[in-house]
Symmetry: C2
Subunit: 336 residues, 2 copies
Amino acid sequence: MLRRTDTDRILLAHGGGGSLTRDLIRDLLLPLLGSEQPELADSSPVPGHEDIHLTIDAFVVKPLFFPGGDIGSLAIHGTLNDLAVSGAKPLAVAVSFVVEEGFEVDALKRVLRSAGEAARGCDVRIITGDTKVVARGDADGLFVITGGVGAVVRRVLPSGGREGDAILLSGSIGEHGVAVMSAREGIAFETSVESDSASVWPLVEALLRGGVEIRAMRDPTRGGVAACCNELADSSGVSIVLDEKAIPVKAGVAAACEMLGLDPLTVANEGKVLFFVPERDAGRAVDLLRSLPTGHSAAVIGRAVSRRDHAVYLTTRYGGERIVEMPYGEELPRIC
Amino acid sequence: MLRRTDTDRILLAHGGGGSLTRDLIRDLLLPLLGSEQPELADSSPVPGHEDIHLTIDAFVVKPLFFPGGDIGSLAIHGTLNDLAVSGAKPLAVAVSFVVEEGFEVDALKRVLRSAGEAARGCDVRIITGDTKVVARGDADGLFVITGGVGAVVRRVLPSGGREGDAILLSGSIGEHGVAVMSAREGIAFETSVESDSASVWPLVEALLRGGVEIRAMRDPTRGGVAACCNELADSSGVSIVLDEKAIPVKAGVAAACEMLGLDPLTVANEGKVLFFVPERDAGRAVDLLRSLPTGHSAAVIGRAVSRRDHAVYLTTRYGGERIVEMPYGEELPRIC
C-alpha cells in the first residue's frame, strides 16, 4: 500500500493530482472500496443504465474568490468537465456544502449566486443539494462538492490513444493555477491573469458533431498538462512528444511561472481539453475548436509515438529534448 | 433572507436539520442557486431522464468510528436512503474524500473497507470517486461526500400524505444519535446502543412489491422523527397525531436521552423510514416490514388528521397532548 512513500499519514501531496494521488487511488481506494473499475475514471457509466454517467468532485480551492471565478462556478464547471471528457453531455448537478461555523452569509450568497449562474450558463440544472455545518476550526470556511450526471453521446476512454495520433490542446495553459496562486499570495503580475474556469462540453460537442474521431481526451486540471499527458500515455500505451513552441502560454502566465518557479506544464487548468485525434482529422479539429470562444487558441501540440517507455517528451524551444515527468503532487495544494 | 435569525454568520444550528436548516434552504439556497424545484428534495429526477434520480450528501460525523458503524458505511447508507425514500432503487454511488493532512492511513483504510463492504451489502457499486487533501487544521480529519443515482420504481413525494392516513415507523428510534454521542463524549450507558445505520431500500421495496400504497415517506435523520413529521405534515398539508406509547424506543436509548437531556423524537436515525399509508393498508404494511430484519419492530405510531395548523401532536403516555415542535437545529451537531 502506498508503496512509493511508505507513509502512515496522508500528505498534502496525496491530493496534488500527481503520482502520489495516482498511487493513493490505485493502491488504496480501488482495492478497498472494492470497485471493479480498472481505474476511478473522471466519470463512469451507471450499471444497468450505461447511457448515463455519474461523477463527483470536491472543491477546496483557497482562496474562495479569485480572478475569473470562485468556488461556486468552479464546482459547477469542474463536475461538468468530468462528464464532458468521458463523452457525456452534462444534464444535472447536485451540490453539497460543508460550511464552517461563523462563515459569512454574504460570502455564501456570492458563492450560491455564482454556482447558479454557472449552471444556467451551461444549460444544466442544479436539482438537489445538502448542507452541513461544522464547528469553528473544523473546516476552512467552505468546501463545495458537486455530483453530476450526463448522457453519453460517444463514450471516450483514456485508453483509446494510438501511435501516430495528433495531440490537440484546446487553448493556452496555466491560467487557473496562476490566478488562484496570485489571489492566495496577494501577488499582482504585470498582466493580470484570470482563471480559465469554464465548461468544456461545447468544445467536445463541436468535435463530435463535426465527425472528428476523438480517440482519447482529458481535462488537464491538477498536475496540469504534464500529469494529463502522462496519464493518457500510460492508459493508451504510447509515448508522447510535445513541441514546446506549439504550446500556447499567455505572457502573464509565463511571467508568473518564472517568478514563482513553476513549470506551466504542471499548473492547473479548468477549462481546457487535451485530445488524441487521428492525424487526418487534426486540421479540421483545430478549426472546429477555434470557431468557439473558449477554443480560439487551440493548437496541435504534439504526437503520440511508439517508444516503449510510455513517457512524455518535450522538444524544447531550443531544439533539445527533455522528459516531462508526472508531477509528484505537492507543487500547488488547494488549487481546485 | 434567513429571516428567523437575521444573522450575518452561519451558525452551527444551520446544519442541524431543523427549522434553521429549512430556512437556509428556502431563503438562500433555492433562490440563489436558481433551482426550479419547490424544495431541495432528498433526491430528484434528472431532466430528460426522469426515471433516474440523483442525490448528494456530505458526512461530517464526529467521531469517525462509533458503535454500529463509521463514516464510511454511514456515507453509503445515507445516500442510498435519500434515493430509497423517493421511491428509487439505488444503482450506483460516487464517493469523495476531503482529508486533512496528517490523517492516519490506517484509519482511512478502515473507512474505505467499511464503505466498500456497505456498498456490496446493498448490492450497489461504487463507480467513481475523488480525493482532496487540505493542510493540517483546515479540516477535522476526514469528510466523506457521496453522490448516488437510482432508478425510480414508484416516485413518492413528501406532499402525498392525506387526512386519515396511518403513520408507520419502520423501527425503534434514536439509536444512531445516541451511539454517536456516546462515542463522542466517551459515555458508557447501562445497555450499549449501536447505530441503526442501514439501507432502508429493502423496507421500501417490500411495501412497493406488496402492493401497499405509500403516499409519502422520509427517513428521520437529522432532527429525528420530530423534524421528519413536521416536514411531512407541512408538505402534505395535514396535521399529525402521534401516540407516544406506540413509538418504539429501546431501553438504552431512553436511558441515554434521559441522562443527556434529549428528546428521543429529535435524535437522528440512519436506518428507519416514516411512511404515510392508507388506513386500509396499515396492518399489512406493518406485517411486511416486520418480516425483514431491519423492520422487526415496525409499528403504526399515529394518524394524519385534518387540523388546520399542519402541526405535529403527541398523545403522551399519560394521556395528555403536547405539540412536537420542529427542532431549531443545535441539539446534536455533526451527528451525520
